[in-house]
């Protein structure tokens, strides 16, 4: 649920430091996930789907509501996140993303069709060993 994941990411960014974190490096989401987006009024949704089942927990951990809100800062007014472990997917609602939406909008992407790939630009930290494998693909 959106509420619980928001709470989770808030406590994670606290002062508490976890010991012995394996070395990581930033990788664009496009190497870990595919996506499709659409619209509901002035809200765009992005379904982010893990390319491999083992990437899903990484997406859950790293693609937090707060990070996505930061990524789209200035483009959307708020972000909600929902988890679909059965599909290896996260669903994001990006509010006020479409300049009024539908017919009102002046945007090229008035229906949010390519917000999906805009999210895939985001970088998240993954273990170095995985990062090497992803880039080699």
């Amino acid at each position: 649920m959106a509420g619980s994941s928001r709470k989770k990411s808030a406590s994670r960014s606290g002062r508490f430091r976890r010991p012995a974190v394996p070395p990581s490096r930033p990788v664009q989401l496009r190497w870990l996930a595919h996506a499709r987006s659409g619209d509901k009024g002035n809200t765009a949704n992005v379904g982010l789907i893990a390319l491999e089942p083992e990437y899903y927990p990484i997406l859950v951990r790293e693609v937090t509501t707060a990070r996505v809100a930061r990524h789209f800062k200035g483009m959307v007014s708020g972000v909600e996140r929902f988890e679909l472990p059965n599909l290896g997917a996260l669903n994001f609602l990006l509010h006020d993303a479409l300049d009024g939406g539908g017919t009102i909008s002046l945007k090229t992407d008035a229906q949010g069709k390519v917000y999906s790939t805009a999210l895939l630009r985001m970088e998240i930290p993954v273990p170095v060993s995985l990062a090497r494998r992803l880039i080699r693909k």
Binding site: H34, G100, G102, T103, L106
Partner: protein
């Protein structure tokens, strides 16, 4: 014992979809039903506008010549058709199809189910007076604030009238604003005789409908994962649901067609236009998308199972379209060298001129196609050596005059602005009327007692 399945094939995913698809669905292999979805959120208002000019119009016109092409096969093979092509004039649409059927010599061989009662435009004042605010689901504003601007108002109906029409012997069911998913649910419930209060079955049929309602978007079209390896998209197979009596179903397509049906293609469609996946609300029930299990069950075959759902809500959604204002979008192309800088300079000059003229807009939006039009600030640094950049500037206002004047300010930039500009051959941009969408809720009892199902003989 071989298990009985009901095959429902998607023929159209929206008004304007590939016209060959329904023909290929009918001829390419065995199907029981052809499902054709025509209605997006604002389609109804476009149809309403057409109807106000011609009382016989107001439905998806291409549906009639399409039916003319496929009716002989449909009748011969015993295929049934469900479609919301009726728009704001389902009766006009049904009559046009009847006429075509008779012309084809199918008199006495075809029955058309006609569903009406979704259109509440003429009932709005009465409904408001009796205490139904029809408030905007997003803003909470009551409809009374824009009542004089309303162009169309239709409640979303579910599967019930489709089941009733099929039970009454209809071969082709034509509706107005029936949900996209209802067009698939209706046939499944009719064939298996399920109780409409078996909520898991309702949810399963809803998910089946959601998967095929956008046509080839579930079978390789717009598929991001591995898009290069999707073959044969000049002739894509549109998706087909093979529903089983236990509520599970298979998604597939006809053999020897292009595209792909995979867990990835189905998953991308499942998340399309998704809100809270735990409660996908339709007039028929509430589906839980977090219960869906997908499994590749063979080449171009995906098994869908495990779906759970909950009871329908006491409210129905109403789709209202109203007149909002005007907009226009114009473009100019600037070429290398310094293409982006030239386009930016042109934008500054144009905005200054609009301001000097004292024109007032609700919104002026500039995008640089090739630089940032689709991803905005996320696009990264612009290529300083870009061969060309398209300046795309749009304006919106409640009044027509400023928008009209804006459309005359673009071409002058060619001789009075930055150099190396081209791509204005299309002339002045058109002033477009903006029709906006107003989603609301209403007590379903107010709608259901007005829904009428008729079966007409060709």
């Amino acid at each position: 014992m071989s298990e009985r399945v009901v095959r429902i094939a998607a023929g159209q995913g929206f008004w304007g979809d590939w016209l060959e698809a329904p023909v290929r669905q009918v001829r390419g292999g065995p199907i029981d039903y052809l499902m054709m979805d025509y209605l997006a959120e604002v389609t109804m208002s476009i149809m309403q506008k057409q109807k106000s000019r011609d009382p016989r119009a107001g439905y998806a016109r291409d549906f009639v010549p399409l039916m003319e092409r496929i009716l002989p096969d449909v009748v011969e093979r015993g295929i049934k058709v469900t479609s919301n092509a009726g728009g704001v004039n389902p009766r006009g649409c049904a009559e046009a199809v009847l006429e075509v059927a008779r012309k084809l010599g199918l008199g006495g061989k075809l029955r058309i189910g006609l569903v009406t009662g979704d259109d509440i435009l003429d009932r709005l004042d009465d409904l408001i007076a009796r205490g139904h605010p029809l408030a905007d689901m997003e803003t909470g504003q009551p409809l009374s604030e824009i009542r004089d601007k309303v162009l169309s108002a239709n409640a979303y109906l579910g599967m019930a009238p489709i089941v009733e029409a099929l039970r009454g012997g209809a071969d082709v069911v034509i509706t107005g604003r029936v949900t996209d998913t209802g067009l698939t649910l209706g046939p499944i419930f009719h064939e298996f005789g399920w109780s409409p209060e078996d909520w898991d079955k309702v949810a399963a049929g809803t998910v089946a409908g959601h998967i095929i309602e956008c046509g080839a978007q579930a079978s390789g079209g717009n598929l991001l994962k591995g898009w290069r390896s999707v073959k044969g998209m000049a002739d894509p197979g549109f998706p087909i649901v093979e529903a089983s009596a236990d509520g599970s179903f298979l998604v597939t397509k006809h053999p020897k067609t292009g595209g792909v049906v995979s867990v990835a293609s189905v998953t991308e469609q499942l998340v399309y236009e998704m809100g809270d996946p735990g409660s996908y609300i339709t007039p028929d029930g509430v589906a839980d998308f977090t219960s869906i299990q997908l499994r590749q069950a063979g080449r171009d075959r995906v098994r869908v199972s495990g779906i759970r759902g909950g009871p329908r809500t006491p409210m129905l959604k109403v789709s209202i379209a109203y007149f909002y204002g005007y907009k226009a979008v114009g473009t100019l192309v600037y070429s290398w060298p310094e293409a982006y800088d030239k386009a930016k300079a042109a934008d500054r000059i144009l905005r200054q001129r609009l301001a000097d003229l004292g024109l007032e807009f609700e919104q002026i939006l500039t995008e640089f196609v090739g630089v940032d039009a689709t991803h905005g600030k996320l696009s990264g640094p612009p290529d300083p050596d870009a061969p060309e950049v398209q300046l795309r500037i749009g304006v919106r206002a409640r009044d027509k005059a400023p928008v009209e004047r804006f459309t005359r300010e673009l071409a002058p930039l060619v001789l009075t602005g930055p150099p190396s500009v081209t791509g204005f051959a299309g002339g002045r941009p058109a002033v477009e009327e903006v029709v906006a969408y107003w989603p609301a809720l209403i007590d379903r009892r107010e709608i259901e007692r007005h829904v009428k199902v008729e079966v007409l003989e060709a």
